[in-house]
Symmetry: C2
Subunit: 360 residues, 2 copies
């Protein structure tokens, strides 16, 4: 038995102790993923795959095959010929070890590489934000539909057990009628980062940070906002915010009457946080959007809530990949499909419009 | 020596250990306060006076002289003839033991009893909100000016040592350039409470709760907002919110470019909280608006902030009363003058207007 197969079996055995078995039949070959773009997030996703039940890294796509490509080949024991460049991307079509791609590219490239993957007959797990406009999202959905591949957006929060516990408490009615939300994700981006380049990022912090509370609130409520207000500001003068705004704060009102207040910034520090206010209690997730270490607190009637599900295991990226693998196996719609990504882009456009700063 | 004089001297001795002496001369007679309206807040204020250096409860004004009046007389050792009713309020003029009134009445009565106190030559410490409209605030300021008495609004936060520490950190530049704020104060009011009666309260939760983050942010920045957005909502149907909205969330933009996101509600539970986001760190006060137990946390560069100044001593109400006494002694403007209360009422009106729910 190959050393990695043994590690795989150990991971499966471990997994069996933490999750109910989804199938009695052993899986001969896990769902194979090609990581597209080998930045930080693809590295973390690939680490997550190492612990997956039914998903495995089988290829990479990179502009640096001789450095990054070789490093991934060694680290993930990739088969010969599993390193692709953007020029050879379309030939993924001919690799039966690749069932799906994981798009970890800058935002402005999500659409093109999703459409091309769909055309190659590969399923697509695409990072958030889904794209830089709602029009692009629609093209991605249409392409995946036309080519009969699944499309999932990597909203990893919904695969986190602490967040799952919060969602369960809200859905059970434990905090009474939900009245409102507050969400914030504030963190620095250094001068020159691609996320500050409008052409690559699509806009400011709402595309990378604000989208977390935006998506969280939409997902929990299960409604689309019917009205928005927003304000943007850039206090720091100089090159850092030459193309995108520094900070944005916005409100949303939902058809049910629920209201939400959100904030994101690339020019300040702050607590990453989601608060859910109900008629008989409230919940706070803080930190709210990390890869692990999420903490759930609050109060329900007279009971103090203080809950942290896990550390790194089960890891969000592992559960996310396994969920998509399961959707591919069973031909079912992911719980975070392209339509959810589209809805968030529509909201981002509405927020810029409300701020009087229309998306170019 | 009378027992209470002895207690007073002990308190002064204690005070001397915690505060620099403001004057070398002993004060023969502390500034005398008449508490107007004996609800919960006047009870807490009166307790605060017991520990003051230079302020003392010398009279009360109540609609229940035979019950509340007698209880206060016993508890605070009031001189005979120190219990007034609303009918005899104007005769406070003839009581030399009363230098100032403390207005702890429902919001809609602040203006009348402030103006009448000014006409009687008494200084006025008025609870927040200053009144139910900016027009009323202007009348109060004019009356106090015309009758040469001081007017201070009881924004007790500015007399809390934990909040003072936060303010000091912000002003020192420790968190860098201030970018934004988030403030929330959310708590239940029971059906039938006077704060849900529009005629008495002036409006919903922003008058009693939302005014805390509103005032805190204005005070820290030292600017008036130049633009507002707001959304109101009432999810609970039924008698509780027949007259005022359940929840309000709003944003403010200041001339400097600082933005703020605030929330208040009478129909939910939540964390009372103020976050200040700067370019090199952030601060969180939570709980933020209690009578004590405030906690200051955050991060400045790599340093974790975790600070709680005190428990009940020094007590906000004590320091607030001593500050007003000092202003009266030295004929100086309070740090929370009527103009600050007026500015907040102008903001409340602007917030309702932005929400499309103009103040009636």
């Amino acid at each position: 038995m190959h050393r990695r197969d043994f590690a795989k079996l150990s991971a499966l055995a471990l997994a069996a102790t933490r999750l109910p078995a989804q199938s009695a039949e052993p899986k001969a070959k896990p769902i194979g993923f090609a990581a597209v773009g080998l930045g930080t997030i693809s590295g973390i996703f690939s680490q997550g795959l190492l612990k997956a039940d039914d998903a495995k890294l089988t290829a990479v796509v990179t502009g640096h095959p001789d450095t990054k490509g070789k490093a991934y080949t060694a680290q993930y024991d990739l088969a010969p010929g599993s390193v692709y460049t953007y020029d050879t991307y379309n030939t993924l079509r001919d690799n039966p070890a690749v069932d799906a791609v994981y798009i970890g590219l800058p935002n402005s490239m999500h659409m093109e590489y999703t459409v091309r993957a769909a055309e190659a007959g590969k399923h697509v797990l695409c990072e958030k934000p889904m794209a830089i406009s709602s029009a692009e999202c629609r093209r991605m959905i249409d392409a995946c539909h036309a080519h009969k591949v699944h499309l999932m957006i990597a909203y990893r929060l919904w695969y986190d057990p602490t967040v799952a516990r919060a969602l369960e408490l809200v859905k059970s009615g434990a905090i009474g009628q939900v009245q409102s939300f507050a969400g914030a994700f504030i963190g620095q981006q250094p001068t020159g980062a691609w996320r500050l380049n409008k052409a690559l990022a699509g806009g400011g912090s709402i595309f990378d940070l604000g989208i977390y509370p935006l998506n969280a609130i939409r997902y929990i409520i299960g409604e689309d906002p019917s009205a928005y207000t927003a304000v943007v500001s850039t206090r720091e003068k100089g090159p850092r915010f030459a193309e995108v705004e520094e900070s944005v704060e916005w409100t949303m009102k939902f058809p049910s009457g629920i209201i939400a207040s959100c904030r994101s910034s690339y020019g300040a520090d702050g607590e990453s946080r989601l608060e859910i206010n109900g008629s008989r209690g409230f919940l706070v997730i803080a930190p709210a959007y990390g890869y692990d270490g999420m903490k759930l607190t609050g109060r329900i009637a007279d009971d103090i809530i203080d809950y942290t599900a896990t550390g790194r295991i089960p890891f969000q990226f592992t559960l996310e990949a396994d969920h998509f693998a399961d959707c591919i196996r069973k031909n079912k719609t992911p719980k975070t499909p392209g339509e959810l990504g589209l809805a968030d882009l529509e909201s981002i456009e509405a927020i810029y419009k409300a701020a009087g700063a229309p998306l170019a």
